[in-house]
Assembly symmetry: C2
Homo-oligomer: 365 residues x 2
Amino acid sequence: MPTHNPFTNPAPRGHLDGDFLREEVVLANRNHGALLEALRHDVTPAGLHYLLNHFDVPYVPDAAAWRLAVGGNVITPLSLSVAQIKALPQRTLRVTLECAGNGRGQVTPRWPSMPWMAEAVGTSDWTGTPLKSVLEMAGMQPDTADIAFTGIDRGFDKGDEHAYGRSLTPGLALSDDVLLVTAMNGQPLLPQHGFPLRLIVPGWYGMASVKWLDRIEALTRPYQGYQQVKTYMFKARPEDRGVPITTIRVKSLMVPPGMPDWYTRQRLVEAGPVMVFGRAWSGNGVPIAKVEVSVNGVWSAARLDAPSGRYAWRGWTFDWVATKGEFVVACRAMDAEGATQPLDVPFDRGGFGNNAVQRVQVTVR
Amino acid sequence: MPTHNPFTNPAPRGHLDGDFLREEVVLANRNHGALLEALRHDVTPAGLHYLLNHFDVPYVPDAAAWRLAVGGNVITPLSLSVAQIKALPQRTLRVTLECAGNGRGQVTPRWPSMPWMAEAVGTSDWTGTPLKSVLEMAGMQPDTADIAFTGIDRGFDKGDEHAYGRSLTPGLALSDDVLLVTAMNGQPLLPQHGFPLRLIVPGWYGMASVKWLDRIEALTRPYQGYQQVKTYMFKARPEDRGVPITTIRVKSLMVPPGMPDWYTRQRLVEAGPVMVFGRAWSGNGVPIAKVEVSVNGVWSAARLDAPSGRYAWRGWTFDWVATKGEFVVACRAMDAEGATQPLDVPFDRGGFGNNAVQRVQVTVR
């Protein structure tokens, strides 16, 4: 028997500096980011939206057999087919989702997990039934304190076996904007995005939007699932209780200008007028107020495109007259509540919530 | 000025052992593999097919303006719209594509590039016009020795600026099975798969299937493009001229049984009957003759599903009665020409063509 076994006695992990472990690369090959040039698209095309799945993508050959159980502290337990859920009034919302671990690969020291650099983001038109409609059909008991959402994807993390689950407070769950989603960009959900049914919680980091949703349970006490209380917590020190990760922090990204070098991904730009452009977003429906672009440390205001939805990223453009030489181009956003992206990467033990400014190395010829 | 600049004076790269460089992780975040559980699907769903793009995915907002130029050593130079190409008789072929660098991350020592482990594969139904029809319309001059295919994706590699291009011999180009493709699984090509027009060369590693194809040029001498002569060559020693990489080597992969541990991706399986299953394929239209599964080093024959097309992977299944303990499960395929997967990873300087058997660590409880 090996000394360590991930199911019964996982090997301890420690923080890292510098090079990356094989396990991190395996996760990077499985999960994938938006290619930064895909930020050109208002709605991220299929296959270019970021993807972070903790366990295997479940295989669901027969969506007609799918049932969503609604139970626990409710007046009327329900078992609903996807067709029954879709028969309720539908809404479509354009929502930008970002992984809470986006940018982890830039945090020093680095927690060994999915080593995102900057690309764990995407925007889709999600169509579904407001969760509220289904919760009202079941009827929450008045002493309901938390509502748990569980998918069928199952596995281990740090020796803990569980199906992926998260919870929402009743107040948030009963908002109009949390959806039980069956379609993405007008198409049925792809297997890897939660087919046939998932939750979308706009304005929150992606971990809240449970995929392959098959169970909703009203609870009289706070949900204690692994993905709610053992991870997705901001922690500065090992002994910290942790601050639960919730809504998305303000961020912006640019489409790297010019053309790339295959290996370093550095950019070559022709001298002359260059339009630098990208997207900016914040969480919880807070609008973007300002985007600035820096060329070698000199910041200037970018132009904002019209908003494209309360929960969707906002386009921006900046005219740069590029002259021959070496440059670092950066962008940063501020939201309507005054939150601004930091210049330096914020430390978090799990590498969560890194919203530092993006810097792109550019050679102009 | 920095000493090294990827565009004029690239830093030398050397082979690596052990941990992975940041550049390798950035490439792994950009490019993505099929999740191994997606091998369940006969046809890989959108977004789960492997993706390897050297440069940026081009943005093509207006496919109606696209023109394919056919020129060089031809009788009648052509400039064809996508609609004109689609108006010619169409074929649909089910084709398994694999990246020539698949498995590079397991080669020791390792060339720093996209660090695939095993997942750079996918199968699609590709619909298009036989290339032959367009070449015959233009008319190849009799002394044509090579035909070059160039996309609009452009960038640098080792200081060499080029648009991605590859060539085919006239004999291969005039076969019925090489297609000018406009649709993948009955849908328009996705941007990252070559919208609006790409080549598909069945039976060859993916580098031959040029995306965003805008130029075909008949040549009287062998094409000397970077992607044809400076890379995609098997080399054992630095001084080797290299052997051009062409058709896909025999390979098999299994869907890892049971459920995963998030970080290590090791598997937990319940004791009892377990169906182990996966896919096997070879190159150049050579059928799969046999698949075997090994449990802790004891090899047994798997059952082959019916073939699903000359160029498509073939399903296989194996009944395993799992007993409590630690196991390594492996699979290997042999093709109809007797080529068999090696047990050990073959060394190649660029990490190309690694078709060693896949081994999966499984704990049975």
